[in-house]
Symmetry: C2
C-alpha cells in the first residue's frame, strides 16, 4: 500500500460478525499495521486465526490491548462494563477505545467511568449486519455504503477524525451524533422492528392449528422477511432491549396505538382509511431507494442469494 496504516495496532475484543468483517476490511485496504484479537472461547480464537482475521490472538482482553492504538469492543452491550474494567489498566496512553454496540447511552454509562485520563473514548455503531453471527460470518464488504454512527461524547476532534477515516476507508459513510438521539433513531429503524419480527415469528410458532411446516412452506408471502430479522443473535438482542428500554417502550407504545387504529378500521370495514394509510407508507419506500439504501429491483418473494 502506498499510504501508511491508519492505526499501528488494532485490538479486536470479541470476534463475531462485526469484528471479523472489520478485520477483513482493514486487511483489504491496509488500514492496520497489526490486528490482534481475543474472544471468550478457544474455538472462536482458533477460527479467527485460521480465517486470517487476526495476525495474533490472545487469551485475555488485558493482553490484547497492550500497545494497541485502537481498541474495538465487539462484545454484547451487557458485557461491555466487565471488559472495560479488565482492560483499563493495560491501555496504552493516548489510545482510542471504540465499540460497535447497537445502543449508545448504556455503553457510555458502562465504559466511560472506567477509562483512564488520556484515552479517547468514541462510541460507534456500524449500521450493518446479517442474521449470521460468529467468527465465520464476517466479510470485507459488510460496511460498504452503510452508515457508521460515531458518538461525540467530548472526545478529541482529531481522534474522532482518525476513527472516522478508518470507517470511511472500510467503505462506510460516517455521521457523528449524540448518544440519546442515536438511541431514539435506532429504536425506530432497528430495535422496534426487530422486536415485532421476533413476536410475529413467535406467534406463528405457537399456532398449532397451522402446522410449522405449512408456515415454513408458504413463508415467501411476507413472513420470510420477518424470519430473517428474527434469526439474529439472541444475546445481542436481549441486551439491546434491556439497555435501550425507554426508547423502545416509547416507540412500541406508538406502534400499538397505530396498530389498534388499523385493527379498528379492519373490524369496521373502513376501506378508505386503510387505502390512505397504505398509500402513505409507499412513499417512504421510494425515499429509501432514492437515498441509495436499497434498490428498486424486485426482491420480495425471491431468494436474495439467487441474484
Amino acid at each position: 500500500m502506498s499510504h501508511p496504516p491508519v492505526y499501528e495496532r488494532v485490538a479486536l475484543i470479541g470476534l463475531g460478525l462485526i469484528a471479523g468483517s472489520m478485520a477483513l476490511a482493514m486487511k483489504r485496504a491496509g488500514l492496520a499495521g497489526e490486528i490482534v484479537g481475543t474472544a471468550r472461547t478457544a474455538a472462536t480464537r482458533g477460527v479467527a486465526l485460521k480465517r486470517g482475521l487476526c495476525d495474533r490472538v490472545c487469551e485475555t482482553a488485558a493482553e490484547a490491548v497492550e500497545d494497541a492504538d485502537l481498541v474495538v469492543l465487539c462484545v454484547p452491550v451487557g458485557a461491555m462494563e466487565t471488559i472495560a474494567i479488565e482492560i483499563a489498566p493495560h491501555l496504552a496512553p493516548g489510545a482510542t477505545v471504540t465499540d460497535v454496540g447497537s445502543v449508545k447511552r448504556a455503553v457510555i454509562d458502562a465504559v466511560a467511568p472506567h477509562m483512564p485520563d488520556g484515552i479517547h473514548f468514541i462510541p460507534g455503531h456500524p449500521l450493518a449486519g446479517t442474521e449470521q453471527s460468529g467468527p465465520e460470518a464476517g466479510f470485507a464488504e459488510l460496511f460498504e455504503n452503510r452508515f457508521t454512527l460515531l458518538i461525540d461524547d467530548g472526545a478529541d476532534p482529531d481522534a474522532i477524525a482518525r476513527l472516522a477515516r478508518l470507517w470511511t476507508e472500510m467503505g462506510a459513510r460516517v455521521e457523528v451524533m449524540d448518544a440519546d438521539h442515536h438511541d431514539l433513531v435506532l429504536a425506530v429503524t432497528s430495535h422496534t422492528p426487530h422486536l415485532i419480527a421476533y413476536t410475529m415469528v413467535g406467534v406463528a410458532d405457537d399456532l398449532r392449528r397451522v402446522t410449522d411446516s405449512e408456515v415454513i412452506k408458504y413463508s415467501a408471502a411476507g413472513f420470510r422477511d420477518f424470519t430473517r430479522i428474527a434469526a439474529s443473535d439472541p444475546t445481542m438482542w436481549r441486551d439491546v432491549f434491556l439497555t435501550n428500554k425507554d426508547a423502545t417502550l416509547e416507540i412500541l407504545g406508538r406502534f400499538t396505538e397505530e396498530l389498534f387504529a388499523l385493527q379498528r378500521a379492519i373490524r369496521t370495514g373502513d376501506g378508505e382509511m386503510l387505502h390512505d394509510y397504505f398509500t402513505r407508507t409507499r412513499a417512504i419506500r421510494r425515499g429509501i431507494i432514492d437515498a441509495g439504501q436499497d434498490t428498486a429491483t424486485p426482491d420480495f418473494g425471491r431468494g436474495g442469494g439467487k441474484r
Copy 2:
C-alpha cells in the same frame, strides 16, 4: 414446442404484476395457444400490448373471455363480483375460471354464485409477488420454486389437474387445499405480517422528532425490510384485510398478546425470557432455509440487487 399448449386461449382479466408474469411465463413455455387480455385503463392495455404480454387486448372483460378455455381473474378481490357478473353470460361452455386473489373464501362467495353450469371454477393463489405493481412489473421467473395454492371447492378433478399442470409448467409448486384453511395460513404468513409492516412504517412517518430523512438514511438496520413489504399495492391490500377480516383479527389478537408479554419482559428486565424467545424464533429461520424457500446467504443489510 414439441408439446401442445395446455389451454388454447387464455383470457387475463386485469394486467398487473401477476397477470403480466403469467403471460411471460406461459409464452416462454408455449403453454397457451393465444393470450387475450383486458384492463380497466387504455394505458395499461397499451403497455401490455407493447411488452408483448398479450396477443390481443379487448376493451371489456365480456369480450376477452369469448371462446377462452381458461379465464384468469387478476383483479383486486373487491372487484371480483362485478367481473364475475359481467363475464358469466359470455363464458364458453366447459371453460375453467380461476383467480389469483390473496384470500379465497371471499372470492368464492363473490364469484361462485354467478358461474353458469358446466364452468369449472377453481380459485387459486400464487404465493409470489414483489412490491411493484402494474403492467410493467411482471417477469417470467416470478413463480419459479414458489407455491401456488389451488382450492378444491368441488370442481372436476381433471379440470383441477389441468390447471395444476399450467402452474407447474410456469415453474410453481402446486398444492390443493380448502378455502378456510388457506385464509388462516395466509393470515399468519402474509396478511398479518403486511399489516404490521405497514404500521411500523406509519409510526416512523409520524415521528416528527426523528426526521423522515434520518429514518430513511438509517433504514438498513432492519426497518428497510418493513418498507419493502409496506410498499405493496394499497388497493390489493385494503381488499385483503376487508375480506379476510376474521382470520386477520384473530392472528392480530395473538400477536398483540405476545407483544405485550415481550414488552413486559423489557420493562421488568427479564433477560432470560427475551433470550429464550429469541432463541426459539431462530430455529424457524433454519426450517425455511431447509425447505428451500430462502438461502442462507447473508442479505439483511445489503441491497438485494447487489448480488
